[in-house]
Amino acid sequence: MNDMPTGGVRQALRHDSAVKHVTGEAQYIDDMPELPGTLHAWLATSDKAHARILRMDLSAALALPGVAAIVTARDIPGRNDIAPILKGEPALADGVVEHVGHPFAAVAAETMEIARRAASLIAVDYEELPPILSIEQAIAEQAFVSRVLTMQRGDWREGLRAARHRRAGRLEIGGQDHFYLESQVALAIPQEDGDMLVHSSTQHPTEVQHGVATLLGLANNAVTVECRRMGGGFGGKESQATIIAGIAALLARRSGRPVKLRLVRDDDMIVTGKRHDFLIRYEVGFDDEGRIEAIDMELAARCGNVADLSPAVLTRALCHMDNCYYLPAVRARGLPCRTNTVSNTAFRGFGGPQGMLAIEAVIETIAYALGRPTDQVRAVNYYGGAGREVTPYGQRIRDNLIPRITREIAAQADYERRRRDIDAFNATSPVIRKGLALFPLKFGISFNLPTLNQAGALVHVYTDGSVHLNHGGTEMGQGLFTKVAQVVAEVFRIDIDHIKVSAASTAKVPNTSATAASSGSDLNGMAAMQAAQTIKNRMIAFAAEHFGVLPEQVEFAANRVIVGNRSLAFGELAHLAWANRISLSATGFYRTPEIHFDLERMQGEPFYYFTYGACVAEAAIDTLTGESRILRADILQDCGSSLNPAIDMGQIEGGFVQGMGWLTCEELVWDGTGALRTHAPSTYKIPVSRDLPPVFDVRILEDAPNRAATVFRSKGIGEPPLMLAIATWLAIRDAVASVGGHRLAPPLDAPATPERILMAVEALKERAG
């Protein structure tokens, strides 16, 4: 008998909705059949960056035929506060608008078109207030959305003073729009007793539930939030979904009818937050070999008008400004800059990418200062060896894969030979220049805040042996539902098509954390495994007693249960257990062990483990135009023991290309009035198929089970691959540096657009004389 059911862990199963995706049957919220009377909503938003609302006249809008309800901050029955971490962040601007696109009212009408026209008829008189439009201005005015964070170790001041070499530097890092293909959407349906059911495209149903309850003045148990799937999330539907769902619920409450609020693309990009752009300033001291002795770094993030998740984003940025490098003495300060631009939010990597990019720029500054290859400077600074194993925030690195992964990626990519080939090419190529870079990464897995590292699950076995699975995680395309179903299939040793994955619902699994921080399968997989194991244990105990065998003689295999010398179908045993009044339903719960973190002191062991990866990228640039192309990328990524290699591969490739977009073609441009000028795909360019490197060799690190006791020794994979794309930025910089004979550090910020590349080339030409 084949004891391998189709669907346990380690199998490269397809996404559970793959067939529905290609036939168009997969339902997103805007596709759900509409109940009779469903209204459609539109936001009225500010066209000023900062202004007091003196007067708001709704009469013309209300008079438009087909308009059913309008809400403003005054019409909120509960509290106008949807802050995810701090307090006092209104869903609708109250008296003062704080960025262009800030919603101050919303209209529900018979059609979206009527709602849009009505919203445009709302007349507002503003008194303009001085806006803060840049990070530098916020720093100058000491305008912050939360306290400045400081992470310190050792005597960095003395370290800098005593160092043989010292350099200061500055780096601008651009933001990024999530550009999930499904824009933000929610459908709120009033229930009896004033309750509210909300279908929300959200990574965080519980937070949406809390936000809606707060706005409506209801207890949490009066609000149910569901999400079957999102058309992409990437962090953009973590806190931001609450704005959309909250306003839909307010309109539903006011009109007494179902209300759908779907942002059109331009509004989505203008009204909701993005990846933070950062301004990095640093001073670093190092020895003759480039070994860092001390560093003082300031990481200033554009947070927008309110804190949202920014304090946590900055915390993760600080916890990743070491990347793979041991920093003996360090001060890193995180400045949460308050600006009159849209409030920035979570985005895959959550500050990690900006922290890592910063330290890579530092490494390069050191290398060019000493005239040493960047690879050598990286190597002398890697974690490892006695006394060089503790991060600046106090976490000991116990699972260091940096030596192995850098060695293996160099071989996979034929790095040394290609380095020589590229140098030879550049020596004879006046216009086209090539560059190469090897970049390793280390990324901490767990929410920085220990409280969030918990999850619940609910598993039912029915009497025919079919299984209903629910957990606190949400499906945004990353394949979480498939992976968790694989875990349950593995426990029961049944085929995966016996398991029905169901929409995340606050009514089934309560008090969940966001599906974020690469933790979805770690947390929910464990919770589901525990729930399934509870039922399995009951079935084993029952079978042993019923058939008079020892529990050890009950074995689950290939959709059957072997009990002594009997063999029952899984469903037969389930039915028998039911007939004998055994519960076949269980909840599961998981909390990540061992972690702790003191947010005040920025010290502790916040991460259950680290995941590692490396990328070698080769770039070409045209020194006449600044155009660039990534010619080849080789990737080696640690997934622990992968739960599903096909899905993990998808996360690696997709994350890498998304990161490449962040660092090359994706550019957010605000004008002098604080208005975003790149708010649709016609002006904001994410990668297309041709941008994929023509040679793209992606591998999962083999024989690397997680040292930590995660679900089947797998590792989280959602975010780390995005940062592998830092190699592409470094390769472009390497190509630019060739213009100055690799003697000068290329003055290139991110993203490396053709314009920035050409300006860096021109600057090097000038300085090189």
Partner: protein, 484 residues
């Protein structure tokens, strides 16, 4: 004269009575038909989530074209076959090869872009000869995916490109019969006067002349890839639309004589093979214009008549010495294109006049021509600067005629008179190019915007001319430049 349009939706007959001229196919599918497989991602033809396929008779075959349903008006479905993601499976629910390939290669994650990719892959499946890597990228250029990074989608695309052996191929005769039946049956709508506006689809130039004389303010619809944006982005009611798509003369491309005569309503996909022969550099540029979906609808005539300062074909047309053939009820006149663009989005077309065709001279022996654009993304992006360089040499190898034109440098696409003069009568060498670049400073005063700074635009304008020189003199130094 019916005031309804009729088409086949996934093979089933549909009639729309008195359609509003600006109702989009996407809205019709989602709101009226309640077929929600087709998604809205951007409502501006830039993401491809709304991709559907149009089928039309082409000889004894059906020609399938991927198009953006978000900016296509329902009126343009008249007499055609519209395929959506719901219509591809066979009667038993078996997946179409394009669908199966995406499943097998793990080509979907969140799945929201997937129906659009399915439809593009369907069209690619039926596109003869588009099997090489470059063609596949061209076909996919209008579909954005934010999850997969494209590698599995490319693998799926390679496996279905050009195969064309699905059940639609097998039932082509039946479909053709039904398409012909549509036209024979109730006939095509030629004038619809509805409560939301008026729509005309004249079938001859004379009829168009008369209509336009009577209604000089009507919107002319050719590809509609720009007109659609007035509706979806500026929320304008169009009032009166005159479709140019049923006038054979306007879709015709004549390549017989000393010039290519491109009908104003000919789409880029149809123009490309001709450009490829005469002006390969122009063809290479056009293959980067918009996306496959946009090129399947968009017209060079529209690109010119719109007079956008950043259209991609005007610089090349200016440099090639193209002429506009302008027509009205009063007759035809021919205007060199460099006198066509008057100011920002303003042309020499008078009331009742329209662009009938573009006349693009064919190359003489020894003519040198290159056109380049620079944008943040290689595919489907709008130029920061687009430059075009035409040089004709005398027997001594000196520049006898120079025509240099740029987009993105001024309020209109414009020739660089000073730079042209600087090259005239000289050898085309580094010194001459330096002189021409110096002259560019007086030719143009570009602006800063979100695509580029004025400084960068100035640098590019000069450096693109340097690139042309390198291509002329030492093409080996640009090894791989076209792959950039």
């Amino acid at each position: 004269m019916p005031d309804a349009i009729s088409f086949l939706l996934n093979g089933e007959l549909r009639r729309i009575e008195r359609p509003a001229p600006e109702r989009t196919v996407l809205d019709h599918l989602r709101l009226v038909e309640r077929r929600t497989g087709t998604k809205e991602g951007c409502a501006e033809g830039d993401c491809g989530a709304c991709t559907v396929v149009l089928g039309e008779r082409a000889g004894d075959m059906i020609r399938y074209r991927a198009v953006n349903s978000c900016i296509l008006f329902t009126t343009e479905l008249d007499g055609k076959l519209l395929l959506t993601v719901e219509g591809l499976q066979d009667a038993d629910g078996g997946l179409h090869p394009a669908q199966r390939a995406l499943v097998e290669h793990h080509g979907s994650q969140c799945g929201y872009c997937t129906p659009g990719f399915v439809m593009t892959l369907f069209a690619l499946h039926h596109a003869p000869g588009m099997t090489d890597e470059d063609s596949i990228h061209q076909a996919l250029s209008g579909n954005l995916c934010r999850c997969t990074g494209y590698r599995p989608i490319l693998a799926a695309a390679r496996s279905v490109a050009g195969v064309g052996d699905d059940r639609f191929a097998r039932m082509a005769r039946d479909l053709l019969g039904r398409l012909d039946g549509l036209r024979r049956g109730s006939g095509m709508a030629s004038a619809i006067d509805g409560e939301y506006g008026r729509y005309d689809a004249p079938e001859s130039l004379a009829a168009l002349d008369r209509l336009l004389a009577a209604h000089p303010d009507a919107h002319l619809l050719a590809g509609g890839t720009d007109l659609g944006l007035l509706v979806t982005k500026q929320h304008r009611a169009l009032g009166h639309v005159i479709s140019l798509n049923r006038i054979p003369e306007l879709r015709r491309i004549e390549a017989g004589g000393d010039a290519l005569i491109v009908g104003a309503a000919a789409n880029y996909t149809d123009i490309l093979p001709h450009l490829e022969k005469d002006w390969p550099s122009f063809a290479a540029l056009i293959r980067r214009l918009g996306s496959w979906q946009i090129r399947n609808l968009g017209t060079m005539g529209g690109n010119v008549a719109n007079a956008s300062p950043i259209g991609d074909s005007p610089p090349a047309l200016l440099a090639l010495g193209a002429e506009a053939i302008i027509r009205s009820a009063g007759g035809e006149r021919v205007l060199p294109l460099d006198r066509f663009f008057l100011d920002y989005r303003r042309t020499a077309l008078g009331a009742g006049e329209y662009l009938r065709a573009l006349r693009i001279p064919r190359p003489a022996t020894g003519d040198f021509f290159r056109t380049y654009k620079v944008s943040k993304r290689f595919e489907q992006d709008i130029s920061a600067v687009c430059g075009a360089f035409f040089l004709r040499f005398d027997d001594a190898g000196r520049v006898a005629l120079a025509r240099i034109a740029y987009g993105g440098m001024a309020a209109t696409p414009r020739r660089a008179a000073g730079a042209e003069a600087a090259l005239a009568g000289r050898r085309f060498d580094a010194a001459a190019v330096d002189a021409a670049i110096a002259a560019l400073a007086d030719d143009f005063a570009p602006i800063d915007d979100f695509r580029a700074s004025a400084h960068y635009r100035r640098l590019l304008a000069g450096n693109l001319l340097r690139r042309a020189l390198l291509e002329r003199t030492t093409p080996e130094t640009l090894a791989g430049v076209l792959a950039l």
